[in-house]
Subunit: 585 residues, 2 copies
């Protein structure tokens, strides 16, 4: 049902990069912080560098229900590079076959590619730890090792002494540095560890720094530390001698505050930020870079104080990269996501919507276009007439203010929404409802009946399922029967809705040429409430040769019937838009 | 397809309340803060009162795609009351028919019911403002009015002078107080207004307080203010003379920091917290009470410092109330939600899972049972054998460590996941896969073929859709044909999957009695990737008379076929669990 094209090539077309360039912001191991003479507000203002470390492909892979293929990882890595993150943590080579594969065929990026692993295990040298060797064998410029910084975990989970653990950290980092790589320590359970034994937690960080680590990252592994405490502890760590520009922060969203905790850490002096796109990650996810990056670029004090590797142009691609990731993972994009959600700039309240139409700044904290998003004034039972007129105008239908038909349209919309229809998203069907009330909807054809059959039977040693649809249509006084199967040109079964849509669109007489370039590109099913009954709501997205995309809705307890209704609206929308220009042929 | 029973009565059964009791924490208008001699950590420690103001039914109604019926609102109000919030803002009577209806038939609650409205319009008295009158006519004990506190909005959006606006605030609040109600001012755009003209913003608050308002609430209406700034401004407002125990905070999630901004405000001295369940609300939503409430009760410094109206027992119902709301709105529950998400305590990484099995405190920041959640060790391609054995043990299947069949099961699971199956959620199907590999799966019956027909035709002036399913089964060597329609006992059409499930379960010979108490309670459809093709994944939830609930999955390009596969697994799971106890009859 979904044969949406996408930018899913395996040859880097999503990123559009060609030859590799010098790694972004390369820093000598022993140098202090890097300043970028900036486009600061005041002349001569020097901005500090803020480093973005993306772990979508490693920590994000630990999201329940998420599985990246190697080609998925390549596509995402290229998109992350085009966005401008500084580090891309690609996975744990050796521990996960997909990850080893990814690193073996890693794309060329300006961003530093990082391989994740853990500090050497007790009782062997760093050189002789095979798990660590596999991480180094991936050949990345950067290696990030997780190490214990919480005394309880050292003695209980690892079963070694505190001193032995420091030795493992030192030896592992020194080994990585000795191989000419940039070393990063992820200090696991750092905040809980610091609260239990601050001296020891700091010793773990210093062991890594002394052995040559470029960064030590404070990880709130359980996700239970609140922002105020994160800020306080980061400040204390810096006061205890760990330079802020060697310090990273890695939070999780178990209390719903990962983004804010990251901001608090930056406020306190940390200069590397770890997170994932769309807040993917274990349990409640990592700090959401899709929310952090726009804040760093657009909000004070960050916009004036810091420089990242992300340009304003790249920021405008934020919605696109967010949707791309959801598309790869077949996850429904979260409408309420900060900055990039489909509803992030949707102004439903009548009050807000009228004000917005006059001046968007009144209810929007940023211009949606800065992140590639759009303003939406949705249809709903709270919509006033000003919303409605604006929505109709967008569909090319002008209705004067105060026209009594506006009130009737709102009533029809509301009544149908009570039955389960949703017009917020199905603007194609909304337009048809309005046209019918306004007498602007011709009757192109009439469906007398249809029958859809799905049959599964044994064929040889296996089974085969086939769908067939018969549709009887009256067009220009003629009774036309059409039948279609659901097999596509490769002989692959595509299902009953596919068969029905083909039969419906097979022979529409003089309108045939108008609909020939229509394609079904998405199909969403939701069980919802229609009055007192559970009904199925189907929303169909269609596209045509002119690149237009429109959504239509159907509701019924019967899923095929609901699909039929949405298909009918899709065809009628196309006809009313294009058949006006001529009689068809 | 979903005929899930639920606690959806209209007579308050969800809340279980009977006679009304004294409103919780009633406070005389002129009194200072209320202290509750607490169960503080130290003897003699007095806890401060933190007030929870829920606006799920008002601001939450402004979520794109959300429509509450009056009975929805009643059910949610009773659940909120049982939870223990202090205020329930029920809507805007007069502006929205559903809201007027709700207030006219409001349930009895311990929580204070609040009607929302706006300050009087210019050019008329408070007594003569019909919009305000409608709000008061709802008869609630508390009235919350939104008023402008941002000079730009006053002069541009309202088109009145700054002094006139102060007069409107004063007169409206005085009018509410004069009617014997508790008055609250929602200071709109407060933070932007304070940054533009702090003196004026404060004057708006003082006008309300002097006129007798119990609370003034600082609203971050655009959602663009970050937590550090919210905290700073709240502290300044209190330093300027507004008592913290008269001060509320109302944030939005447009930068992904609403929860943290609320915490920052409480840290700075605010004592009323406004938010919604599940973070519903305009655009990116309001501050999420589903995350805030557990933090206030379980995390320091809040647990020791503050008392709310919410008990530990009520907290354990947090997952339930969150799911109830999603169920009413037919929204898919967000798996990654803090505290209550299905994935909030799902430990996918092999490393984490082994440690958790030894000691949950190692990777969990709280005990999931405190909020009514559960620990999950999901199946995935990262799962090690320890995860798998734990999962099998939970299904009553013991397999010794190191058994080679464990590796084969993991391979089969992985291969099927590549085809589009998802075993994280469909644990019933997972169990059947394992049983087949372990030779522990009897063959109860065989389906030779099925045929499902959906037909829509004109009947009189309307149309009628009917589905019919024919299933041919071999059971105990006998060939049995069953046919079923999709009409239920009321003659309502229920769809092709319903017809198929009835036909499948109609005549299973000696197994019939075992499956007679099975019911299909949920049906989820997702278009996903199976290899290179788009396929439909159907997950079915079934329940039986013993209160067990199990999920099964089917995958096919054909939605009916995918449903068939999931149905077959559902029946087989029930048979393998229960038919062992006897031969059926």
């Amino acid at each position: 049902m979904t044969d949406a094209p996408g930018e899913r090539g395996q040859d880097g077309e999503a990123g559009g990069l060609s030859a590799p360039r010098t790694p972004r912001g390369y820093l000598d191991q022993n140098e202090g912080h890097e300043c970028v003479a900036g486009q600061g507000e005041a002349s001569g203002l020097v901005k500090e560098r803020l480093w973005i470390y993306d772990t979508t492909l490693r920590d994000g892979q630990q999201t329940q229900g998420v599985q990246f293929s190697t080609s998925d990882k390549q596509q995402i890595a290229l998109a992350l590079d085009a966005l401008g993150v500084d580090y891309i943590e690609g996975g744990w080579p050796g521990a996960n076959p997909t990850d080893s594969d990814f690193f073996a065929n890693a794309p060329e990026t300006r961003a530093r590619l990082s391989a994740f692993g853990m500090t050497k295990r007790a009782g062997r040298s760093a050189e002789n730890d095979d798990v660590l060797a596999a991480v180094l064998d991936a050949g990345t410029g950067t290696v990030c090792l997780v190490g214990k910084a919480h005394e309880f975990h050292v003695t209980t989970a690892l079963g070694v002494t505190l001193e032995e653990n420091l030795g493992s950290i030192r030896a592992s980092v020194a080994h990585v540095v000795g191989k000419g790589r940039e070393a990063i320590l992820d200090a696991e359970h750092f905040f809980d560890g610091y609260k239990a034994n601050p001296r020891y937690a700091l010793d773990c960080l210093k062991a890594a720094l002394e052995a040559g680590a470029r960064w030590v990252v404070l990880c709130d592994t359980n996700g239970g530390t609140l922002p105020a405490e994160v800020g306080r502890i980061v400040a204390e760590v810096i006061a205890a001698g760990v330079p802020g520009d060697r310090l990273g922060i890695h939070t999780h969203d178990d209390t719903g505050t990962a983004v804010a905790a990251t901001l608090a850490a930056v406020d306190a002096g940390a200069r590397q930020v770890q997170g994932t796109l769309n807040g993917l990650g274990e349990r409640c996810g990592n700090a959401n870079l899709t929310a952090l990056i726009p804040t760093f670029l657009l909000k004070e004090p960050y916009a004036s104080r810091f420089e990242t590797g992300i340009s304003r142009e790249a920021l405008a691609g934020m919605v696109r990269i967010s949707r791309m990731l959801d598309d790869i993972l077949n996850r429904v994009p979260r409408r309420a996501s900060a900055y990039v959600g489909a509803s992030a700039f949707a102004h439903k309240a009548g009050l807000h919507a009228s004000a917005i139409l006059k001046d968007p700044a009144t209810y929007e904290h940023i211009d949606p276009a800065l992140v590639g998003n759009v303003r939406v004034i949705p249809m709903s039972n709270q919509a006033g007439q000003s919303n409605l007129r604006a929505r109709l105008a967008a569909a090319g239908i002008e209705v004067p203010a105060g026209d009594p038909r506006l009130g009737r349209i709102l009533e029809v919309i509301k009544a149908r929404e009570d039955q389960g229809y949703a017009y917020d998203s199905a603007q194609g069907s909304f337009e048809l409802v309005a046209r019918r009330e306004l007498g602007l909807m011709p009757s192109f054809f009439e469906v007398k009946r249809y029958r859809v059959t799905v049959e599964r039977r044994r064929v040889g040693a296996g089974t085969m399922t086939l769908s067939e649809a018969v549709v009887v249509v009256i067009i220009d006084g003629q009774r036309v029967l059409s039948v279609s199967e659901s097999l596509d040109e490769n002989g692959t079964e595509r299902g009953p809705v596919n068969a029905l849509s083909k039969a419906l669109a097979k022979d529409l007489g003089r309108w045939q040429s108008v609909i020939d370039d229509m394609r079904l590109v998405d199909f969403k099913v939701r069980i919802t409430q229609g009055g007192t009954e559970a009904v199925t709501r189907v929303i169909i997205d269609s596209e045509d040769g002119q690149g237009r995309r429109w959504s239509t809705v159907g509701v019924s307890p019967n899923i095929v019937d609901a699909s039929f209704e949405a298909l009918l609206d899709a065809i009628n929308w196309k006809l009313v838009r294009d058949a006006r220009r001529g009689e068809g042929s």
